[in-house]
Symmetry: D2
């Protein structure tokens, strides 16, 4: 992924949100099951959407869906039940009709990085066809937030 | 629930299906998290539907949905990763426009009962309104299977 | 369950906690999958534990686990993505070595009751044997909170 | 990931396993929620382990755990409820003390590729320390299967 990371522009917007680890998210090794970090990333995207006006609901009301087409996760440390995490979700602007986010999951009590991740979403219109150019609502959203 | 159980008619149709416990279904106590048994019950209902022609898809294609309105589960023993289970799903006929199932989850290697459960589903029509009388497709399904 | 409800003493302690519905918790019917309410109930138990000093961690540090042996849920309305819920978790004292909770899940924006539930937990000691009498730490917890 | 893929040796062992999509695995878009593919990958690893003698249980009984430290997933098409999938799990031998798998998730009815993925696992010993050299049991496993 080093190559991909280089390609990503610097983040232009960052959201931080706080989540309690659920007991049901742990596994028999006593730690959070690795697949559950994709829920944390989605928590991050949604908190980002609520802060900056780009939630799933907004996208949907504009006639689009934005499915995840690529996700990558690096696990550094293990979360356990009782932990509270901070999810940092960073938006990376790009010319293509895509949404690119990176994630850092930190343990609240000591700020240790538990996992990092990257995701790419594309836009499908109401006929489920891939949009090759940026939807109008996204252009306006970028303009309002002065994102190039 | 003793009262409810008494009310239930004897089961008229029974399906048995086999499921591997997933590692992601265990929790930090080393056993299957209790909430995951509702997935096993749904596995049971679906296997029942495939065997007897009453799947979610069939119900949906006839213009209905059948949401669960009541579910009850008794946990007897703990399943662990590596276990394979047999889910017995029993259909209990009733006059009302409802689907009533009971479940027994057995560990395959020794037949031990791990959990039991009961569920009730109602029918909503395409306007999301509760159906008070049995949908026609359900009457025909019962007749075909000689269920009173 | 009417019988069971009658048997329960009036709740002596109530916790209220707030949870966002996750997109991953919805199903193809567009609403929260019924099994996910057991996660909400557990959120409620844990928030209760944090407020009143009876978390899974506390129980565990005292040498016990408290598995759920019975859970019952009544679904009234459907939650959708974007909803925020209030979970009311009520502790019902009893003489037996058990923990009995009831739950009410309300939609925050209008206070509508979406689901109700009841759960029973027992105590296993460090040898995984059922405790027939109340553990000392639980007696002390009740005394401290003036619960009969 | 093209770079990573180049680095991977050709797969030496391949397992194929069959899984029904669960209703609870769909989301409000009517398709399988993207995070659930990590469950399919784990189904694949476990089926691989059962076929070739390298299950979580085997690893654990030899004094190790093998946590996933990196996972990458590319989503191509959407699975819906009712679909049955074939998960192809390929083991890629490497000199380092790691397990490297790639995955292809195919829809059974037409063989269409729905998703691909890659994962890397490391070995922790019983003190939770990273093993820098291949555990003895893994060397023997490779020798038995004539993997270089």
């Amino acid at each position: 992924m080093r190559r991909n990371k280089k390609e990503l522009k610097e983040p232009t917007l960052i959201n931080r949100t706080r989540v309690h680890v659920r007991f049901s998210e742990t596994d028999a090794m006593g730690v959070v099951w690795h697949g559950n970090y994709l829920k944390f990333f989605e928590d991050g995207r949604e908190a980002f959407g609520r802060e900056f006006g780009l939630s799933y609901t907004t996208i949907y009301e504009n006639g689009y869906t934005a499915p995840v087409v690529d996700i990558h996760c690096q696990f550094k440390q293990s979360l356990t039940f009782g932990d509270t995490i901070i999810i940092e979700t960073s938006y990376h602007a790009c010319q293509a009709a895509k949404l690119q986010f990176t994630y850092t999951v930190l343990r609240e009590r000591d700020g240790l990085i538990m996992a990092t991740g990257q995701s790419t979403q594309v836009f499908l219109n109401s006929s489920n066809k891939l949009e090759l150019v940026n939807p109008v609502f996204l252009k306006e959203w970028k303009e309002n937030l002065k994102i190039l």
